[in-house]
């Protein structure tokens, strides 16, 4: 079995109101010196295949077709 982690983040230049709110809340809690905060998503995915190359190709297809909206988001795939 292959375990993978997909990370989806907003592209540069795309406004992230939720990240901004978190940034403000961290300041409220007294964490000084916090720069920009950007919120993203993490998906931990198990694949039954043992073929790493195929798994990577499948995971990228999953990102393009569903996990990420490539109009506004980037993704990275890491296989552990």
């Amino acid at each position: 079995m292959i375990k993978a982690r997909v990370t989806v983040t907003l592209k540069n230049g795309v406004l992230d109101p939720q990240g901004k709110a978190i940034e403000g809340a961290l300041g409220t809690l007294g964490f000084n010196g916090v720069g920009h905060v950007r919120q993203g998503k993490v998906f931990d995915i198990e694949l039954e295949s043992a073929d790493r190359a195929k798994a990577e190709a499948d995971l990228k297809a999953m990102c393009d077709k569903l996990l990420a909206n490539t109009v506004i988001e980037n993704y990275t795939v890491s296989i552990t």
């Binding site: 230049g13 795309v14 406004l15 109101p17 939720q18 709110a21 077709k65 569903l66 996990l67 909206n69 109009v71 506004i72």
Partner: protein, 222 residues
């Protein structure tokens, strides 16, 4: 004038939409469930608002991958009139039938109130019963209506007259780029909009500014 309303779990404005189409079109729309792979021959297909799949992953993301949306895409390619309101707009964007994306409102708040819309292009098959630049009343109710597109896309849709509705100057409720409230595709037969015209079609609603949109979209097929 035949119409169809697409049904998905979590949508909750379907009854309002069916009522509006029935009252204005004179005939109840057929309903098409998410797993259906074919849509009957109709003149107008509508995806109503709500919270399909609980807004999981991204608003409209999972709904856009359901079998019925392949059928909607086929009909759209053939030139059938398609309209998505609120969550329906989000679904059309996620399905790639319209350009851009809808993000969380800049205020982070759910906004539920009436707004003024400017008819930005009265030359579309959805807006040609309004006057260019006309201000109309329309209710909104959404958390993710903040329209975004990259610079090139934005320039293209502005240049091609694909912006159908804007929030009236100075009243942008959600942070949308260029105050965009509704857009059409390049061919002009697919409309997506965040506001709810189906909720302002008769005196009992307190006004009927939304009626002309349905009359245009339905009347076209007569």
């Amino acid at each position: 004038m035949k119409s169809a309303v697409i049904l998905l779990p979590g949508l909750n404005r379907d009854r309002d939409m069916i009522a509006a189409l029935t009252k204005i079109g004179g005939k109840a729309p057929v309903t098409v469930w998410q797993t259906d792979t074919e849509i009957p021959d109709v003149d107008l297909i509508v995806i109503p608002g709500g919270f399909s799949y609980g807004d999981y992953l991204r608003c409209g993301a999972i709904a856009a991958r359901m079998p019925v949306m392949r059928a909607v895409a086929e009909k759209a390619t053939k030139g059938v009139t398609v309209m998505g309101v609120c969550n329906g707009f989000q679904i059309l964007l996620e399905a790639g039938l319209l350009p851009g994306a809808l993000m969380r409102n800049a205020s982070l708040k759910f906004v539920c109130r009436e707004v003024k819309l400017e008819v930005a292009n009265a030359g579309t098959r959805f807006t040609d019963r309004y006057a260019q630049g006309q201000l109309i009343r329309c209710p909104i109710a959404h958390h993710d209506g903040n329209y975004f597109a990259d610079e090139a896309t934005l320039a293209r849709i502005e240049g091609e007259g694909q912006v159908a509705f804007r929030y009236a100057e100075g009243t942008n409720p959600n942070g949308s780029l260029n105050d965009i409230a509704g857009i059409v595709n390049g061919a002009g037969n697919v409309l997506g909009m965040m506001p709810h015209p189906e909720n302002l079609i008769e005196d009992a609603h307190g006004g009927s500014d939304g009626r002309a949109l349905f009359e245009a979209a339905l009347g076209r097929a007569a």
